[in-house]
């Protein structure tokens, strides 16, 4: 078998809290993190959001960053999540290992750009935040906080960014280009995104209802999540136990529309099928699908059709945990990779909250959640982005 990447640490911050323990507890108790707007300064208070319940100041203090240092919410959340992942994997500062940081983001430092835009135009009082705007800058702020990374890269493919970062991280490890890859994504909630998604009329004013006939859109969220990936055959030297492995992955393009999915879900079908092929698994091997499941009319129909087509011999439990976290856009693939890892470790199916009415187009209904009767073996996680960017990752027990 070709070399595969094992996961030896996870770190997450989302609407469910900071850390894997509160995340696991909320998932098991069926407690959503989606709530009225509290931190984002927006006039659109009619929408529910999945905010990280920490202010920038609170994160800055917790990370012991000088208040005078220019940071962005995206990089702060990234630091919180990477810190947990590194500690979990017991990676020391002077490990002598070649470590890459691969991060996905799209709005990057837009939170500060939208706050200081008029200052930028008027004078030079907020120049520091011009430099923190770009996606690359946000990733480097995370990297520089730790000072252990010898490679740093940013992927920006909208809502599949973190999943693509994990895919690249796995590839770098498999190819032996690095010893360790810390891969995932970070994205903060901004007025830019909230208003952008609002102009597309795909936001639900209530709690999102993935795979439900009454679904009315998504709840925007935010967060950061990273996995520590290292070659399975090199773990012995470090004395760490793998949590699971990334057995397959694929990215495909729906090539249908800039912001909508094809009705048949061709891109989604292909990404799931190719990931299975890469993992040398059949659809029957999958114990649980963590769906993209945004709760929009378009996504859930398209993804649902693709699942139905590929898993025609029997559909495994399917749920969208965006009903807990909201849609953390570029970070979503990371948050859901952490959730998939937790599900594998603890053999439970996360619930698909707010479901009541089956979609007439689909032969399956989403999972109610709870302990799995049999141990989970393989979990498939989907992340789809604008431009029909479709990524599927498969996490497997070792």
């Amino acid at each position: 078998m070709p070399r595969k990447a094992a996961i030896t640490g996870i770190g997450v911050v989302s609407a469910l809290g900071a850390g894997r323990e509160p995340t696991l507890a909320a998932l098991r108790e069926g407690r959503t993190g989606i709530a009225p707007v509290r931190y984002l300064k927006t006039s659109h208070t009619e929408f529910l959001v999945g905010e990280v319940k920490l202010s920038d100041e609170e994160m800055t203090r917790a990370l012991r960053i000088p208040e005078s240092q220019a940071t962005t919410r995206t990089s702060l959340m990234g630091m919180v999540a990477v810190r947990e992942a590194l500690a979990h994997a017991r990676l020391q500062r002077k490990s002598g290992l070649r470590i890459a940081l691969v991060s996905g983001t799209t709005v990057g430092g837009m939170d500060k750009s939208e706050q200081y835009y008029l200052d930028f135009l008027a004078g030079d009082t907020q120049n520091a935040y011009i430099s923190t705007h770009s996606c690359g800058a946000c990733t480097e702020m995370i990297a520089d906080y730790f000072g252990i990374f010898s490679r740093v890269q940013t992927i920006s493919t909208a809502c599949s960014s973190a999943a693509n970062a994990i895919m690249l991280g796995a590839m770098l490890v498999e190819e032996g280009r690095v010893d360790v890859a810390v891969a995932g994504g970070s994205e903060c909630l901004t007025k830019f995104h909230l208003n952008g998604f609002n102009t597309l009329m795909i936001l639900d004013r209530g709690q999102c209802k993935p795979f439900d006939a009454r679904r009315a859109g998504l709840n925007l969220g935010e967060g950061a999540a990273y996995l520590v990936l290292e070659a399975e055959d090199a773990l012995g030297g470090r004395g760490v136990e793998p949590l699971c492995r990334i057995s397959g992955y694929a990215n495909t393009c729906d090539a249908y529309h800039q912001t909508a999915s094809s009705p048949n879900g061709d891109g989604a079908y292909l990404s799931m099928a190719k990931a299975l092929e890469a993992a040398q698994l059949t659809p029957q091997d999958i114990s649980y699908i963590n769906a993209h499941g945004t709760g929009t009319e378009n996504n859930d129909l398209s993804e649902g059709q693709a699942i139905q087509r590929l898993f025609c011999g029997g559909i495994p439990p399917v749920s969208s945990t965006k009903s807990f976290t909201g849609h953390a856009t570029s970070a979503a693939g990371g948050v859901e990779a952490v959730i998939s890892t937790l599900a594998l470790q603890h053999s439970f199916i996360p619930a698909n909250l707010n479901f009541a009415q089956p979609m007439p187009e689909l032969s399956f209904t989403p999972a109610a959640g709870g302990d799995s009767p049999a141990p989970l073996r393989h979990v498939l996680s989907n992340s789809f982005g604008f431009g029909g960017n479709d990524t599927s990752l498969i996490f497997s027990k070792i």
Binding site: I130, G136, L200, G388
Partner: protein
């Protein structure tokens, strides 16, 4: 490192930049911009290439990307590459600015979706895929001044693993007056004399197998973040070893000298150390500075290797005349002295 040594090939490359569009005219008669700090790309006549409604609907960066992509596909005879991989430092910054401006000035009530829909970084890559109906791998790297090298390395890995056979790799950045003003203020751009801001639209077709008219071979890509001198030397050794090429065989080193002291000083200290006695080549004096300018540097080196000729105007040492019979060009780039990248290109 167990990185494989398979060569991959650059079959074709098409560009729109501050030099004459969709041509290699800069080899013979480059345009010069004197003391101008801010230069927009020379756009071709889009009416010849797009239907009127299509041209209106697409922003500059998207039109340029689509046209260079279509031409790279035509030139290589590959209508549907297995992968589309794009590099962009700032993405669709024009639409991003328009949406942000409306949001801040007019508030959150009356915004329209069109700017937002074409504001994400991966609008470019997905537009190309939609246009060519490519259902394969589609990714976008947005890492400041090393975005292009990230895209190239990803493609190189997938081609040498046999995961894909062909890939369209792009480097695309537009520069608006507004964003130029901001980037000048923080010293990245615009400190004329000596260096100017340009724009980039480059599309290259890469493949695992050569064609009769391939431009050159891509032998490897290495990247380092905040390396020590020793780490940089190791990266160079890895690159050359992987390609089984000796430093003595390298004809010249293409570097990112831009005329801006904050950028150039590091080259002045690193190059003599890392590449002793090697002739240095530059490209930003012709193409300008941009986050994805390295794409144009690799393109310029590829054209030189294809034509077996380095024109005199690319040499940093102005005493040098044109060089013929060139076999190997090393490419070295740094961004703000943090990100360093090395690429080896060889004649076919």
């Amino acid at each position: 490192m167990m990185s494989r040594t398979n060569d991959v090939y650059i079959l074709a490359a098409k560009q729109i930049s501050v030099q004459p569009p969709l041509s290699d005219e800069w080899m013979e008669a480059p345009l010069r911009y004197g003391e101008q700090p801010y230069v927009r790309a020379v756009d071709p006549d889009y009416k010849q290439h797009f239907a009127p409604n299509e041209a209106r609907r697409l922003g500059k960066i998207l039109k340029r990307a689509l046209l260079t992509s279509r031409q790279a596909m035509t030139a290589s005879g590959i209508a549907k590459p297995d992968a589309v991989v794009t590099a962009t430092g700032l993405g669709c910054i024009d639409n991003t600015e328009l949406f942000l401006d409306a949001l801040v000035r007019e508030g959150e009530a009356l915004l329209k979706p069109s700017y937002f829909m074409q504001s994400t970084h991966n609008s470019v890559s997905s537009l190309i895929a939609i246009d060519a109906r490519c259902h394969g791998y589609n990714s976008t790297y947005a890492h400041n001044g090393t975005s292009f090298e990230c895209a190239l390395e990803d493609t190189f890995m997938q081609l040498s693993r046999g995961q894909i056979q062909t890939a369209l790799v792009g480097a695309h950045d537009e520069m608006t007056p507004g964003y130029f003003a901001l980037l000048s203020r923080i010293g990245y751009l615009g400190h004329a004399p000596g260096g100017f801001s340009g724009e980039v639209a480059l599309s290259m077709m890469l493949a695992a197998k050569p064609q009769e008219r391939s431009l050159c071979r891509l032998r490897g890509v290495e990247m380092e973040y905040h390396p020590t001198g020793e780490a940089l030397r190791q990266a160079l050794r890895r690159l050359l070893q992987g390609a089984q090429c000796r430093m003595e065989e390298v004809d010249a080193v293409m570097v990112g000298l831009s005329g801006q002291p904050s950028n150039d000083d590091a080259y002045a200290s690193i190059c003599p150390e890392l590449f002793p006695h090697k002739q240095l080549l530059r490209y930003k004096h012709l193409f300008g500075e941009s986050y994805t300018a390295p794409g144009l540097g690799v393109y310029a080196a590829a054209v030189c290797l294809h034509r077996q000729r380095i024109p005199a105007h690319l040499f940093v040492d102005c005493e040098s005349g044109e060089q013929r019979g060139v076999r190997h060009i090393l490419f070295y780039n740094h961004f703000e002295e943090k990100n360093h990248s090395l690429i080896l290109l060889s004649a076919c």
